[in-house]
């Protein structure tokens, strides 16, 4: 019906947008945008009001109408509510706002920032219009807050004035406290009653009240929360402090805030909350009665008392102030308080007497006073603005005698003052008197209201006095300021609105009569066309009215005597010490502002400072302490590693051979020197020596340079073969031309391309070879890494022939370990591996190569010897036992596997056999792996080894240990491996944690990488211990992944040593600038190594953890997975930290100019990084191989 009503809000919003976004293009005429849009809103409002009145709003025949809008959040729609109150408020607000906007054009003519000003005015008005037309409390709140925002912006319009900025802040924050209470109330309403709609709520309240589960206290709390919002917005005690300061904004803004918008919204809100104050229910169709048990008497009383008290309280402060606008501000607080008093008393009266003729008079009186006050306060403010505009001061002590200079202002302001003072016949008189009468009437029922009446009537006296104090100080007597000649009347655009307002000020009082008592227009509750609600008649009229008139006249008279005639000098009051004290108290506003400031500064800000301190020192302190603690542990671990573990090793094994070691440089013939210690390896070594010579001289005869090409060709060919083999394994396309497979009965495990020939029949030694998913990835990796190592060492200058030959020999021997399936051959290759590595370290190594190479050889050889004991045990004891025949001896691994797979035969291998053999195997393998504490050969070997040696060592040699565990230790001794899972777990976890801490305190990049290898191999043991397929597969996969990553890492260490001459991390800074390509490779490799998801090693580590978590043996200790996970954090720490130190920062000048990666290096690194990504993205290819042996391994464990 009233769809066009939306225009009332939309027009000012449009004004806001136009003035705000395009205001500059209007130049000084931008004000007309505001006037036009707000004026338009007024025209529409007026039309709406007329239409509403035409539908018998006065007679009560009009039912409120909801104008559809939008749905905002589920359950809350934004609609307009058109009823007699909102229609009236819309017209009132838009009228006043139009006038104020018009006035602003003149007032702000010479100010900068007009577009901003007028845009904000428009938004402000839109906010108020939205507030008074909202159909639910939330919508009301939203527009209410928009208004709060605009008041903030406009009070701080002259933001460069500190006072304005501070006043704006104060206004926003103080009203915000009220707003939050209001919000609280809105929430409580919605949750309690399920709606916020003003029209639906009365029925909902009636329906909900008294229901089980309904807390009746809510009926008191909700209106009080809403009132809290009103207290803030309408500046009532104790949140009144913002309003007197708010006059720092331009005067028209003050007029807007005090007269038409903002503070009036609070009164409006309380009027709307009559739904709760005087709840009604329908007793018969169309007949409503007060729901008496639900009436919140306490809430009503609180509202009335706050009103009555604030009226008096604010009026006293107005008495002493000299600032013309502040006086008016205090008067606003006081007058608004009257309205709250009226609403409170009116609610009480209504609740007590029921909805009947005349009973809504208090409600109506308050809104009547709101209307009157709007007109006269707008008039007073604009007149005061006119005065300030003329004299450029707010201080009334510098005014006086302005009547003759500014006649229009003086007269209009006199009219406004008379209205404010309650002079009979003027508007303020009627409405204030009605409020007081209601209060008096309710006093019969509750004596508190009688006291409030006394306060009210006293306030009336004070009001009359301070109003005329103001008028006389300003307009009568002599001018007390400066430059009287400049004082002149304001322009027509300002005085025009004054005149219009003056008319309304005078006329709005008479309006009461014209509408047959104001109560007919604005009423609450029942409305009956037949019996118009006439308020005044039932009240004891005359005596009270006479008293009101008397006090008003007395106040005006006193002001006349003091400030016009000066028969009673104003100073006489302050002469007595008590009077002076009171005066000071009033002037300082009862020190409440001061108190609030102190509370904010020392209370809230103190708390904030304490919280900040706590955050920096305690919470962040703990975080940093954990970091520092980690470093301390790292330092201690490093010390322990060097002094204790390695010290012990040295004391034990090396002291015996130290003498001989120091005699000569290691040459090929020096092998005999340790032969005495390592008796068992002798024969093998001799054989190998021959082979080295043969390979080096025959295969690589010719120039030294050609050696590298030949080596590369051989290893490349090998790589191609490995690739073909892998592809065949996966797809089977060459299967027909290769040897067949040998399965293990009773399992899914099979060795493909299995060849077995009898070799030394007397000793049951076979030449047996075959591949499965466990060995294939490693077989793939071996030639690949060898090729890359050759490529990386392309520029080797010192004896390249031997160097490359040894690399090839190494490749051959490692491959042998992975493909042979006969224990004898296995061990031969296992030992053979040591030789080329020994020479690589001993000849091409760093300064300490002697020590390192011997340590490597002896240490790992000791491990091998113990492993050999186990092989003998298998040969001599396990074979005969399993086959029940003392002569059934075999070295063939597959035979053992097959026998053990049969539960009946396995049972023959008692734990007494399995456990010691397992431990011996295990020891041999974890020395190779290596696992803490049998690891100290590794850092030395790496540090001294040439890069290619390190690559092979870490990438392939260590994998032999892991391979052995999965090939031999677990499947051949399943019972032992099942019950000794904890042994593997402990070695694994200790390696992970320990190595990562040691890494944290390394300065040599290569040593760091060496230790990180130890940590990463810990995953293998952890996965092995899990006894789940996924964990074992992860461990096997980890062997492969680590091979790729660690190769890149050791190459990186080699490159930087070559390029910068040092691997000392602290000396390497700013490599990101010096060697960008190198840095990129470094970053990616580090990230891969720390297990960044998406790169290869994450997959395997993830699987290991998953398996460990789900592993049977771990069932009771599941949460302890957190411990190895901690190692991942520390790994992250040392890598990121190292990366940060090396890559970032300013370059170290002393390093000179560094060359970035060479071509061959780029190729090598590219392949490795590509592998990291490919395996990371498509792990299923590799897992496809690994999965079968893993299920076999977990299946074989009982």
């Amino acid at each position: 019906m009233f769809e066009y009503a939306w225009l009332i809000i939309v027009l000012p919003l449009l004004g806001f947008l136009i003035a705000g976004l395009a205001g500059r293009s209007f130049g000084r005429h931008v004000g007309w945008v505001s006037v036009g849009t707000i004026g338009g809103a007024f025209v529409v409002s007026l039309y709406l009001l007329i239409e509403v009145l035409g539908k018998e709003a006065i007679g009560g025949g009009f039912t409120p109408v909801t104008v559809e809008g939008i749905e905002w959040v589920p359950g809350v729609e934004f609609n307009l509510l058109v009823d007699n109150l909102s229609a009236f408020m819309l017209a009132l607000v838009s009228l006043l706002s139009t006038l104020i906007a018009l006035y602003s054009i003149g007032y702000m003519a010479h100010e900068e920032g007009k577009p901003r000003y007028f845009a904000e005015i428009c938004l402000f008005v839109a906010g108020m219009l939205g507030t008074v037309s909202a159909d639910n409390f939330l919508q009301l709140l939203i527009f209410w807050e928009i208004m709060g925002l605009c008041s903030y912006l406009l009070i701080g319009f002259w933001y460069h004035k500190p006072e304005a900025a501070s006043a704006a802040k104060k206004a926003f924050l103080v009203t915000r406290i009220g707003d939050v209470l209001f919000l609280f109330g809105v929430i409580a309403i919605f949750v309690t009653f399920g709606t916020l709609n003003l029209l639906e709520l009365p029925e909902k309240i009636a329906a909900t009240f008294g229901m089980p589960g309904f807390d009746p206290r809510l009926m008191t709390v909700i209106p009080l929360l809403l009132f809290g919002g009103a207290v803030g917005k309408s500046a009532q005690f104790p949140l009144h402090v913002w309003l007197p300061d708010a006059m720092e904004g331009p005067t028209p803004v003050s007029a807007l805030i005090h007269a038409a918008t903002m503070v009036k919204a609070g009164v409006y809100l309380v009027a709307r909350s009559f739904i709760f104050l005087v709840p009604t229910h329908e007793v018969a169709p169309g007949v409503h009665e007060v729901l008496e048990p639900a009436v919140p008497w306490t809430a009503i009383l609180v509202i009335a008392v706050i009103g009555g008290f604030t009226a008096f309280f604010a009026a006293t402060m107005a008495l002493a102030n000299y600032d013309i606008k502040r006086v008016l501000a205090f008067s606003t607080i006081s007058q608004l308080a009257y309205m709250f008093l009226g609403l409170g008393a009116g609610a009480w009266f209504l609740a007590e007497h029921g909805i009947a003729e005349g009973s809504t008079v208090g409600y109506s009186a308050a809104l009547f006073h709101l209307t009157n006050h709007a007109f006269f306060k707008a008039l007073l403010f604009l007149a005061a603005g006119s005065v300030i505009h003329a004299v450029h001061t707010n201080d009334m002590r510098e005014m006086g005698g302005l009547r003759k200079h500014m006649p229009v202002t003086a007269i209009t302001m006199l009219l406004g003052s008379l209205a404010l003072a309650g002079f009979p016949g003027f508007s303020g008189f009627w409405s204030k008197d009605e409020i007081l009468k209601v209060t008096f009437e309710v006093g019969e029922a509750n004596v508190v209201f009688l006291a409030l009446y006394v306060l009210g009537i006293t306030t009336a006296f004070l009001t009359a006095f301070y109003t005329f104090r103001l008028w006389f100080m300003t307009f009568s007597g002599r001018f007390r300021g400066h430059h009287e000649e400049h004082v002149h009347e304001s322009p027509g655009v300002m005085t025009g609105p004054l005149a219009v307002l003056a008319v309304f000020t005078v006329a709005s009082g008479a309006f009461a009569f014209l509408t047959n008592g104001w109560s007919n227009l604005i009423f609450y509750g029942e409305h009956t066309a037949e019996s118009p609600l006439v308020g005044l008649t039932t009240f004891p009229g005359l005596p009270l009215a006479a008293l009101s008139v008397a006090v008003a006249l007395a106040g005006i008279g006193l002001a006349y005597l003091v400030y016009h005639r000066r028969t009673i000098p104003a100073a006489s009051f302050t002469r007595s010490s008590a009077g002076a004290r009171v005066h000071r108290l009033l002037l300082n506003r009862y020190y409440m502002d001061h108190g609030y400031n102190q509370l904010a500064r020392h209370g809230v800000m103190g708390l904030a400072a304490a919280a900040d301190w706590f955050d920096r020192k305690v919470i962040d302190g703990v975080v940093n302490a954990i970091g520092r603690g980690g470093l301390a542990v790292a330092g201690a671990s490093d010390w322990f590693d060097r002094k204790v573990i390695d010290g012990t090793v040295n004391a034990f094994s090396l002291s015996t051979v130290r003498g001989s070691l120091t005699l000569q440089r290691p040459q090929t013939g020096r092998v005999q020197n340790y032969a005495a210690v390592v008796v068992l390896g002798l024969s093998i070594v001799i054989v190998v020596l021959l082979i080295v010579r043969v390979v080096a001289t025959i295969a690589m005869g010719g120039t030294q340079k050609r050696a590298r090409s030949i080596a590369l060709a051989f290893s490349l060919a090998d790589t191609v073969l490995a690739v073909v083999l892998t592809v065949t394994f996966l797809t089977g396309f060459l299967d027909s031309s290769l040897p067949g497979s040998r399965g293990i009965a009773g399992t899914n495990q099979a060795f493909r391309y299995y060849e077995a020939y009898s070799w030394v029949p007397t000793l049951a030694i076979n030449y047996a070879m075959g591949l499965d998913g466990l060995s294939l990835p490693l077989v793939f990796l071996t030639p690949l890494l060898t090729t890359l190592a050759i490529g990386f060492s392309w520029d080797k200058e010192y004896r390249p022939k031997e160097f490359f030959a040894l690399l090839l020999l190494m490749e051959w021997s490692i491959l042998g370990v992975f493909v042979t399936l006969d224990f004898f051959l296995f061990f031969v290759f296992w030992e053979l591996v040591l030789i080329p590595m020994f020479f690589l370290i001993g000849i091409w190594g760093g300064p300490n190569r002697q020590y390192a190479s011997y340590k490597f050889l002896i240490y790992t050889h000791v491990g091998s010897v113990i492993m050999l004991l186990s092989i003998f045990a298998m040969f001599l004891s396990a074979g005969p036992t399993l086959y029940g025949d003392p002569n059934a001896r075999t070295f063939n691994m597959v035979d053992f596997l097959e026998a053990v797979a049969d539960p009946g035969k396995r049972a023959l291998l008692g734990m007494g056999f399995q456990v010691p053999v397992f431990i011996a195997f295990f020891f041999g393998f974890i020395v190779k792996l290596p696992s803490v504490p049998f690891h100290t050969w590794l850092p030395d070997a790496h540090v001294e080894a040439p890069t290619a040696g390190s690559v092979i060592l870490a990438g392939l040699l260590l994998k032999m240990g892991g391979y052995g565990i999965f090939r031999v230790a677990i499947p051949m001794l399943p019972d032992a491996s099942q019950s000794l899972w904890w042994l593997m777990a402990i070695f694994g976890v200790v390696s992970m944690i320990y190595a990562s801490f040691v890494c944290l305190s390394q300065v040599d990049l290569k040593k760091l990488i060496a230790y990180s290898s130890i940590g990463h191999m810990g995953f293998v043991l952890l996965g092995a211990s899990s006894q789940t397929t996924i964990g074992v597969a992860g461990a096997i996969f980890q062997l492969f992944n680590h091979g790729i990553i660690t190769a890149a890492l050791f190459m990186l260490a080699g490159t930087i040593k070559h390029s910068a001459g040092t691997r000392d991390i602290p000396k390497l800074r700013g490599l990101g600038q010096l060697m960008p390509r190198y840095s990129l490779v470094l970053i990616i490799s580090f990230l891969a190594s720390l297990g960044l998801p998406g790169l290869n090693s994450f997959v395997s580590e993830f699987m290991v953890f998953t398996g460990t978590y789900g592993g049977g043996p771990y069932q009771p200790y599941r949460a302890l997975v957190l411990v190895p996970l901690l190692a991942v954090v520390i790994t992250g720490a040392y890598y990121v930290w190292t990366m940060q130190k090396m890559v970032f920062g300013t370059p170290n000048e002393s390093l000179g100019k560094l060359h970035d990666l060479k071509r061959n290096e780029i190729v090598v690194y590219s392949i490795l990084i590509l592998m990291m990504f490919l395996v990371g993205f498509f792990p299923s290819l590799w897992l496809g191989m690994i999965w079968d042996p893993s299920t076999y391994l977990t299946g074989v464990i009982p």
Binding site: V73, L138, L141, A164, F184, D612, D615, F1105
Partner: protein, 504 residues
Amino acid sequence: MALPYVLTVLLFFPAISAILTYVLGRNDRAAKWIGTGLSLVPLALSTYLVYTFLAAPADLVVQTVGGRSYYAWEQYSWIPQVGISYTLGVDELSIFLVFLTALLTTLAMAFSWDAHDRVREFYAMFLFMETTILGVFLSLDFFLFFIFWEVGLVPMYFIIAVWGGPRKKYAAIKFFLYTQAASLLVLLGIFAMYHYGGTFDMTVLIAQNPLAGSGLSLVAGLVFVGFLIGFGTKLPTVPLHTWLPDAHVEAPTGGSVMLAGILLKLGGYGLFRVNWQMMEETTVEWWWLLAVLGIVSIVYGSLVCLAQDDLKRLVAFSSVSHMGFVTLGLAAAAFARGTAGAQLAFAGAVFQMFAHGLVSPALFMVAGALGHKLGTRNISELGGIAKKMPTMTAFVMIAFLASLGLPGLVGFVAEFAVFLGVYSAWGFALAIPILTVVITAAYYIYAAQRSFFGPLNPRWENAEDAHAYEAVPLAVLSVLFVLFGILPLIFLQSIYAWSGSVVP
């Protein structure tokens, strides 16, 4: 019309763009244009996705698992041995965050137009980060999820460590280690989920709630707390938040935008997706922990804000406070499960992520721009700069107001819904979080008064106002504040409906 592979394209296009930007961005100008231009493609795709999702969801490939629908579904076997698949899909929870990610990436890159140090790396890093973040929101396989979750640390680490402020090294490594440590608890939780649920498929885990069985309450509690710590660190919630202020203070503006706008949301997303959806019963049991964390974050964060001098630090702590609403909303939903209030609280908490994702970038943009233009962000050293920077001040005020929850702007909607939920759960205990709103207003308004208003500090006599490349992203965000403040239902409708099904 259903675009095939739309999510895969959306997910990897930024990563490819990163490479293109790096390779083709031969000079700074080219890198900026290429990078920003390419980022429009995922933005367009995600806009299409959101639009289709809202207008005609049936046009997308819909997969329903356990009664829940996932859209634009793609599933391919990936690591079949371990039961890991490449599964992508969006639903009401993730789709708006996907849109936000694409939007903020473009805006952050546009806002960084004055970058001059290693520009192509910088722009490539943003695009790479976009892929990682999108990955988290799109993945419906735990393994894939965790990959993106962890990889996301890397670009952010570099953005802080390379382009950061004076203490960038400390901040970067703190960020990396702190959040990585927390991620490990997430990983542990994933293991547990896999162990008891037998799958990494998040949709199945959501449908089955494997830890809900009797006799598992201890395990479930531990896993819940582990996830909570992991996601809570990212969120962040007090007391796991101290990486955030340092990271923000040192990060370049674009980095802060992404960090606050999106990276924090990963934590909230995890709380909803994992803690709630996969372990609903446990969440209900542990509501009190969520509630305490939420309340403490809200109150403590805002108090600390009040004491900050560095604007960026202030904004960082305000994020802590605002993300507390997410935790609190979840707590209320858990406590009052089954009521209308719970639905509101849940929807509010989800929407808060979106709202904060719009507002905090604007805050960091203005804070960063001030620091960049003036050389300081310290409130005590600013003063009166509104006079010299009216446009920037206008944006600052809009962002401040949106952040302090002014009705009519986007932040209010979310907070209001959470408040409703909190009230319906705990009644007048709402007083604590709701009164904090006053403190929030106080620190913003107090900061505004001291830094922008009052007399102009003569040091800033020559300060320049916002450039176009700064004003445009801020304007876009400001328009969105208003749009989603007035018409939140555009997104909230489906979030609310979904919340109803998630909080039965």
